[in-house]
Symmetry: C2
Subunit: 118 residues, 2 copies
């Protein structure tokens, strides 16, 4: 399973309010499909599909307990997402700070100001 593909699936999975609510719920502990479906006004089958999407993204996993299939949050996968975002966020912020420093230093500030105001 490609990592790029997993990133894709994970971000797409979180791009839905029902699935984000499911993730939020699971952060407080494992739950069955029925339990997860309870707050929503959609069919159980629709919720089951949402869980499959989250599972394919690696964001949740499932075990078996008799006829129940408890769903668990995979915190490690969430961390991969923040890691991806932070890579670029921090790069952008650092670049911005470097520009600030340049701006503050004596002269040569013209070009820096040009970029800064954009």
């Amino acid at each position: 399973m490609d990592t790029e593909e997993q990133l894709n699936r994970a971000f797409l999975a979180l791009g839905d309010p029902v699935r984000r609510a499911i993730v939020a719920r699971l952060s407080r502990g494992a739950a069955t499909v029925n339990e997860l479906a309870e707050p929503f006004d959609i069919s159980l089958q629709a919720v089951s599909k949402h869980i499959q999407v989250l599972e394919q993204a690696g964001l949740v996993s499932r075990t078996r307990d008799a006829q129940r299939r408890p769903v668990h949050l995979e915190a490690a996968r969430l961390e991969r997402l923040t890691a991806w975002i932070d890579t670029y966020r921090l790069a952008a912020e650092q670049r911005f700070r470097a520009l600030d420093a340049l701006l503050a230093s004596t002269d040569g500030g013209a070009a820096a100001t040009e970029e800064k105001k954009q």
Copy 2:
């Protein structure tokens, strides 16, 4: 503009490899649509649409420089995404650590083990 809706758009926006590549590129500095389109084998119009998706998500903004429209990364919006993810990731990890502690403490470990192995 609803915050929930913005979260949605932002996660969906990052759920596409072209848009993630654009974000990565912009973390190294602003760029025009033409510059952003250069690495891809798709039409300029397609890239323009991707940028509009990112803009609607609040992940990028644009200024004007003659007939060019430089695109800038909005690091603050990226931070909101990590903040959302971390809220639930940290909750899940803390719960897990609490379970570990319970497990390590003398007896009463049966129920904890039960959850832990799932």
